[in-house]
Symmetry: C2
Subunit: 357 residues, 2 copies
Amino acid sequence: MSQPEPALPTLGGAGRPLRIAVLGTGQMGLVCAGLLVDGERAKGSGEAPTPRVTLWAHSRDEGDHLSQTRQSSRLPAFMLPESIRVALSDDQIAEADLIVCAIPVQFIRSVLDRLTPYINADARIVSVAKGIENETLLRPTQIIAQCLGADDARLGVLSGPTIAAELAAGLPATMIAAAHDDGFARSLQRLFGTSWLRIYTNDDVVGVEVAGATKNIVAIAAGILDGLNAGNNAKSALLARGLAEITRLGVAMGARRETFYGVAGVGDLATSCFSPEGRNRSCGEALGRGETLDQYLRQSRFVVEGVATTRSVVDLCERLGVEMPITQMAWQVLFDRLDPIDAIGRLMSRQLRGERE
Amino acid sequence: MSQPEPALPTLGGAGRPLRIAVLGTGQMGLVCAGLLVDGERAKGSGEAPTPRVTLWAHSRDEGDHLSQTRQSSRLPAFMLPESIRVALSDDQIAEADLIVCAIPVQFIRSVLDRLTPYINADARIVSVAKGIENETLLRPTQIIAQCLGADDARLGVLSGPTIAAELAAGLPATMIAAAHDDGFARSLQRLFGTSWLRIYTNDDVVGVEVAGATKNIVAIAAGILDGLNAGNNAKSALLARGLAEITRLGVAMGARRETFYGVAGVGDLATSCFSPEGRNRSCGEALGRGETLDQYLRQSRFVVEGVATTRSVVDLCERLGVEMPITQMAWQVLFDRLDPIDAIGRLMSRQLRGERE
């Protein structure tokens, strides 16, 4: 297949390495920075020079520590390659051709408001965050578009089943690079792909973002089942019925149904529901065992994206008139002290029906 | 919703308990027999008297042992309720209104050939086996139809994510009751449903059977990844791409796409790929660790349905012109001594593409 020249590498100018700023030093920020300079680049990316990557930390302390030790307690087995520069001031991200936004969703707006003066007006932006903003009910690329005044052609998403510790260890994985502009999607496919990370392109930005956000809610519910020792039959039923309800929401928001049945949909959902490491599943498990949300979050070292996203999605499904019984159940357990056993009982005792009703 | 009277309970005659014969004393045979007399019947089944259940064993020894001990080494925690009669001769299944066929797929034909003289010409038959017959490439209900000369209206399927040990412990679960005759599907829903087992009806018999058969192949491949310690990112990608290819096959065989995205499709697939107990996953795991198929099967106490099904499905996809790279890879590892690491390498290094290509 002959393909037109992908959009992004040419942005860097002939022969000049692409300049990339990664915002955020959480697990995905670290892993994305590492992927961009990985030695085992995917086929087809060989011609382009390795990009120049700058990693931006929210706090000066965090940046100093990373710069000196090249390590983070958030991803213990990971070593930040020496070729990656840690930004020690905001202006060091200026002139980036590509911004990788790896900021937790509820903080994207405040970070971009701070960094807007340093972001190139032509820069492309790829989001790797998974959630829906509270109050505004916007997806990450919509928040970015608002903050930077960026049009659709500049925006993309990377998503998929990507436990960061596995990516850091170079274990095989897949992701979806979604963008309205197919050339940008293919640029992302080549930039982030390696011999062990296979990236597929997709033009359904809405679907990939909604799937990535909502699977965290189903994962919380799956964790609740784990906390109750309900077994894998129950968890797999939850996965299937959860997939059905997040697909309904996605379609109501303009997504393509098939996106939910692919790598960024059911693939990410499966990892999130079954991997012991998953933050959302772990949070749910604590609730299923009887901890309160406050207790759990006080001692958690990570942002649990699904908690805030559950609030947003309950608002969204009410606004759009979409039935989402698992999401409603998760909301009641999280915020309304519904007993997890009662929650399961209510889901199991709904009117008997056909699968498609 | 007002619904017409379901088809099956009236077959038993006014007030007379339904007579049911369960064929097979594997895990699903035992569990199905137990469900039919479970004390916690689903809503709506309260009016009908508890059915009279006869359990048929392939060998006299097995039948005698079960009859005396009410226990089986195949499902240690399970106790066969006293109200279930174990058939000590083939004629004890005569006059059954409903036959539950829980025989491994490659043995259905020989068992039914033996039992045909004792099977009522009006009896309904529900299949719970998951596979495709070698050589004929028929689904279980097609084999049954051939052997008994039964028309579609008499045939149904029960399927879903149902680890037998969890069902035996009364843990929450879901299944699909599929039949061409909606009344029969609803009868199955009421007969097998309990307060902890929620059953959905579906009229896509082909889809439910093809999904049930082919998920075992993907589970073998998932096990191979486990044997290689490839991680959950890889396994979830395999699940998503496996779902895509078994859906393609199903659609080519006349199934509805959505069936594959439901409880009997992705739900069963998730359990099979992630539950440590899964036989097909465990078989794959042994291959991934370097055992040969012969070594594994010699010491396994169970039929691994996916092994024979892989042969059938490779024939089917070649006949129908459906691309199934994961199934082909599983076949090569199982039967052609392809090194599992090379198999993964080949899947990962295919031409970069869009997700829907």
